[in-house]
Structure formats: C-alpha cells, structure tokens
Symmetry: C2
C-alpha cells in the first residue's frame, strides 16, 4: 500500500486527507442549512456561539479561538455588527479594544441556529461516533486540538 512505499510510514497523510475531507463536507453541508434557515454561515454561527458562551471577548480572542487572522476577524465582527447581532462596547480597561457582546436578537439567532446545527450533525454523522471507537475518536481529536493550541500551531500572521 501507499504508506509502505513512500516516506510516510505512519500513514499520517491518509489521516490528514480524511480529516480535511470530513471537515470540508460537514462544513459545507452546515453552511447550506444555516444559510437557508437563518441567513448565516457556519463561521458566523461559531463566532456567535463563542460570544454567547464567552461574553466580553475581544476581537483577538475570537481570532485565537478560530485560528483566523485578526484583520479578517475584525471584518467579520463588522458584518455581525451591521446585522445587529453583535455590539462593540468600549473596554474600560483598554481603549484600543472593544468588548464584544450579543444583542438580544443575536442571542435569539444563535439559539435557533444551534438547534439547526444539532439536528444537522445528528443527521449527517448519525451513529458513526457511537460506541468505543467513536469515543476514542472524540478523545484523540480533543487531545490533538489542545496540543496544537498550546503550541500555537497554524495561527495566521495578521
């Protein structure tokens, strides 16, 4: 097999390919449903959910959480603010930054969207994660995520 005949003895390229393909397709499928039912996309849903669960986050906090550049994050917050889902409040401790918070409408939106996401994931993934291999998978991905985050792997410059 391929992993024996090239320089990838542990088959990490195959793992990486599967990881990327699963992510792409799930992300695209969630985009479709969220756009159709709530007029947002997955990245916006995740930002709104983070703000709901971590009120008072700053732009840089969102950027670090999602491994997206600060500039792009600032523009994303602009859009959420224009839609009336997020507000920038002055940060009393540092006038360079703002504290982000959901509006009431933003809170309603993220709660409704979360139900959509839960349903969609259940339908898309089904019982693939049931049982012991599924539990191991969750655990391994959580571990890998913390590892990458601790080492600040893959953070864009800007």
């Amino acid at each position: 097999m391929a992993s024996k005949s090239n320089g990838d003895p542990t088959g990490l390229q195959g793992f990486f390919a599967d990881l990327v393909r699963c992510e792409t397709r799930l992300y695209n499928a969630l985009n479709d449903r969220l756009r159709e039912r709530h007029g947002i996309v997955t990245s916006q849903f995740e930002a709104l959910r983070h703000l709901r669960d971590h009120p008072g986050s700053r732009v840089a906090d969102l950027a670090a959480e999602f491994a997206v550049g600060i500039g792009a994050t600032s523009k994303g917050v602009d859009r959420l603010e224009k839609h009336g889902w997020v507000v920038r409040r002055p940060n009393p401790a540092d006038r360079r930054s703002s504290l982000l918070a959901l509006t009431d409408e933003g809170t309603r939106l993220v709660d409704a969207a979360e139900a959509t996401v839960t349903d969609a994931l259940a339908e898309l993934i089904g019982d693939t994660l049931d049982g012991s291999p599924g539990e191991a998978t969750r655990q391994v991905l959580a571990t890998l995520r913390s590892l990458l985050e601790r080492r600040q792997i893959g953070m864009p410059t800007g």
Copy 2:
C-alpha cells in the same frame, strides 16, 4: 456540562468543533511550510498529488474528490497550468472535457512537496495517533469520509 443542558445529547457539536479546529490549524501550518519551501499551498499540493496518483482525471473528478465547485477547480487548474505543472490534453472520448496530467516538473514538485508534508505532519501530530485510540480514530474518520462521499454530502453547486 454543555452537552447535557442543550439539545445536543450526543455532544456532536463538540466533536465538530474539535474537528474543524484541528483541520484549520494543521492546514494553515502545512500552508506555511509548503509556501516557504515549494511556493505552493496545501490545496495545490493535494491537487497535484491526486493527478500524480490518478492521471487522466478531469476537472470534475478533482472537484468531486475535494468537494470544491467546478468553477473554482477550473480556475485552480488554470493556475497550475500557468506554472507549468499541469497540462490539459484533449479527451478523445469527450471533446467538452480535458484529461489532466502532470508535467515532469509537476511530478518533481509533488514528490518533493510530499516529503515536506510527511515531515511536517510527523512534527505537528507527533505520536498523538500511536496506539489503539489513534488507530480507532483513523478508522472512524475514514468511515465517516466514505459515508459523506457516498451520500454526496457538502458538494458545492458550481
């Protein structure tokens, strides 16, 4: 915990978040190294590798493999062709499409880039996938990927 207090009893949202975060950071990190050492990005590496391993693919085959729109794939092939890594040959069986093939330079590039990717993944992921939970994880992701592909989940329109 969160998975008990909302409508996500099986915790799929947490799994999905971990999946997306791992993918983003690994993808970004690979981008950095591939750009620095070979002047390409991960999506280009994956397209070149697919063409090396599946010569005679068409634009639509690449699009289906990576769950990217056909228009975007066509433009991506344009770029690879401009760089001299890929050629479009007329398809004798269907004059609407072309058969894609790597040039010699494209072959050299993808082989070199593959070694970079192997090294980078080994360094980034390390021994996280060693052992039985790691093996279960590979298996589960491979299964999930086939499931999504069979059902054509997350294919962009264009």
